[in-house]
Amino acid sequence: MLCHADKEDIDEIKEWSTIIKQSSRCGLGKTSTNGLLTALLKFPVEFQKCLLAESDFNHAFDIEKAVENYDSIIHEIENTYE
């Protein structure tokens, strides 16, 4: 488990689900969030397990991953011209 979320994210899931339900054109969209919402309703403990304390930082953002392309480009160039 990555465990990047905090409590606010759960509230966001619920809020966004309502928006999808209200604004979908067809039944498929209107029910598309039911799976996740039911899981949240029936297994709150499982979700609580992997929540972080509320924080001002987005933990899902991984700086190592975000500079991956740059690193590989530089690596490639160094290997070619050395």
Binding site: N58, F61, I63, A66, V67, Y70, D71, I74
Partner: protein, 422 residues
Amino acid sequence: MNNLVNITIDSKKYQVQEGKNLVDAAKENGIYIPTLCHFHEVNPPLGTCRICTVSVNGKTTTSCTTKVYEGMEVEINTPELLNTRKAIIEMLYAEGNHFCPSCEKSGHCDMQNLGYDMGITVSRFPHVYSNKVVDFNSDRMIMESNRCILCKRCVEEVKTKDGKDVFSFINRGIKTRVHIDYEEEAKLTDAEALRAMNLCPVGAILVKGMIYEQPFGERKYDIVGKDKQAPKRDTFKKRKDENKFIVATTSLAGCFGCHMSLLDIDTGILDILEIVELNKSPLTDIKKFSKRCDIGLIEGGCANSENIEVLKEFRKKCDILIAFGECAIMGGIPAMRNFVPLKECLEEAYIHGLTSEIGANVIPNHEDIPKLLNNVYPCNEIVKIDYFIPGCPPNANHIWKVVKNILLNEEYSITHEEFKYD
């Protein structure tokens, strides 16, 4: 067809003609329902944009596809529905690549106007930055799919004299885009081509050479919104202190234009310095935080590892973070590189570029040089940002009004003139 029926809108009773479109029926009675895909000529209505979502007898539906009938109970302006409609516009902004400051139709754009109207400062959804096709092949028109919201207005409405379609949807799912039939397009008269451009609720259909006809500030919605006031914020952070408030500012991946704008307040800066002390900021040239700050002002998005570090440092050292300017809010102009692979960007700049030396084969890199990120990120995707001031750049008075309001806990209002992007 002249039967009158009784309907209830937001618990007020109205009499309207039976079978009339709900959007039109509401409009007749002075009630505004925002729409993008709907306009009076299309029949049957399209119902593609979903912005006219209202509640009819307890169920949400689009009002443009609803016909009025006896005993109908409609809710339009409940907080929940207002929020849903705002979210739909935010989704459109997050999905397309809407760089308003560089758009030809800015000030003429229905979607931008709705954004102002609903008081959108930032999208609550992460930006997609998908690479979309810009089609210059037609002799007269440009199809800018970056801005297209797939409302289908042009597909339904623009036809040649022989009744053939000029625009059509191609591909499926997220790859759907509007394509111009070049042959049929050539048959349109100039007036019809202009009509197609004006029909588009955003800036996706452009006629070459007609794009900057009207100067900024004199366009349709600039004039309509002249005395419009931006919605007031209802949350305040209370702070009272004997000492001066401490403010820090920084520019990440931006052009420093927003900092220039900060200085545009002229002698007003003297009043501000009565209550505010600047700490780390390019204005004071203090490089490191020497104390905890009340407010941090951030210009620009995050393009390299140093930007991320500075931003996180600001979050740690400041109580309230304010992102000001387009780049900090949605990446802005630097984020236009998100559509091109990083490798191509670097090669173009340092190896194949016109100004690079012949035989150059080095992309600058050193442990002291910050690393470029794969994408340019808006600040709120990295840390939590408390307030957003949109604009390119935001008006100086606007910025200081927001800062003063937050510090002194005062109410404030902004006129459309100050709030405008362009």
